[in-house]
Amino acid sequence: MKFEKDQLQMVLALFLVAVIAAALLGVTDMFTREPIAMAQKAALHRALEQVLPAYANDPQNDEVEVGSDNEEVVHIYPGKDEKGKLTGIAWEVVAPDGYSGSIRILLGLHPDGSIEAIRVTDHRETPGLGDGIVKNVAWLASFAGKSLLGTAWAVKKDGGDFDQFTGATITPRAVVKAVRRGLEFYQARHQAILDAIGKADGRKLGMQGGKQ
C-alpha cells in the first residue's frame, strides 16, 4: 500500500492532538488529585458528623477494615467518646441498582445495631426526582431508630415502611435495600467488627506504652 503524504499528515495531526490532550489531562490530574482527595475526606467528615452518634475521636483516623461475605473489604469508621468507649460505627454501603448507576450511602449505627442516621454520599440520580434521597430530610429521618428486626425493609409500594417519591420509586427502593443489606452485614459480622476495633485500640495503646 502506498502511503500518501496527506495520509501521513492526518495521522500526525491526530497523534499530536492526542498527545497534547493527554499532557493537559496529566497536568490537571497533578493539580487536582490532592484537592479532590481532601474534598472527599472533608465530605466524608461532614457526613460522618451527621450519621454517627456523638463522638470525640477522629473516626477516619480510627478506621478499621473488615472482610465481608463476598470478600470485599469494608472500611469501618468507629465513633468513640472521650474515654475511648464505642458510641457508634459507620461505613459505606453501595446500592448497585439505582436508577442511573450506583448510589453510595453512609450508614451510621449504634453499637446495638439500630440506625442513628443515613446520608447519601454519591449518586447519579435524576435531579428533581431521585435526588430526594439527598434533599428529602423527612424521608432520611424516617430511617432513624430502625433496626433489622421490627421493620419492613421495603418502600410502601412494595408493602414496606418507607415512602417512595412521586415519580421516583426505583431510587428509594435501591437505597432501602442497600441499608437492609448493611444491617444484615452488621448482624452477621458485628463480633468481627468489634474485635477489629478493639484490636486497633490495643495496638494504639501498645504504641503509646512503647514510647514512654
Partner: protein, 220 residues
Amino acid sequence: MNRSEVFMDGFWHNNTIFVQLLGMCPLLGVTTSAENGFWMGAATVLVLLGSNLVVSMVRGVIPKNVRIPAYITIIAAFVTVVDMGMNAWMHDMYLVLGLFIPLIVVNCAILGRAEAFASKNSVIDSAADAIGVGAGFTFALMLLGGVREILGQGELFGFPVFGDSYPDVLMFILPPGAFIALGFILAGVNMINRSLERRKTLYAKQQAEQAAVAAAVEAN
C-alpha cells in the same frame, strides 16, 4: 462583524437555546433551580472558551478529513479538566450536577462553534464568540432554572419568594415543566425580537420619509 457584534450574535440573535434550540439535554436536565443552571452554564463556558481557543489556534494545521475527531478530542480534554476541577474545588455542586458535566462533550452546540466559527476565525474573535455563546447559554439556563424554581418550589437561588407555605408544584420540578416553561420563554423572546424588528423598520421608514422631504425642499 466586529467583536461586539460577534458577542451579541452568540448571546442573543443566534442564542443556542432560544434560537437554535440546541443543547436541550442539559437544559431540561439540570434547570431545576437557578443556581444549578448557572453553574452548568459556567462549566459550559469554560469548555467552550478552551475548545474555541485551541481549535482557532490549530486551524489550517488540522487536515480537513480528520477535523471532527480532532475537535472532539480537544473538547473532551477540556470537559475532563472542568470535571476534575469542579470535583476538587466545588465538590458539592459537582455532586449535584453529576452526570451532566461529562455529558458536555456531546453538547452539539460546542462542536458546532468549533466547526462553524473557531475553525475559520482568529483566536480573539473565537474567544469573543465563545464568551457570547456561553453567556447566552448560561443566561438561558439560569432563566429557565429560575422560572422553574419559582413556580416549582416558590424559591429563587434558595431564598423563599412566596413564603414558606408555598406547596411544591411537581409539574415544574419534573421535565414536562421544563418544556412548558421553555415554550413560554421562547414565545416571549419571539415577541421581543418582533417588536425590535418593527421598531427598526419604522425607524427606517421615518428616515426615508425625512430624506424624501429634505430632497423635496432641496428641489424647491
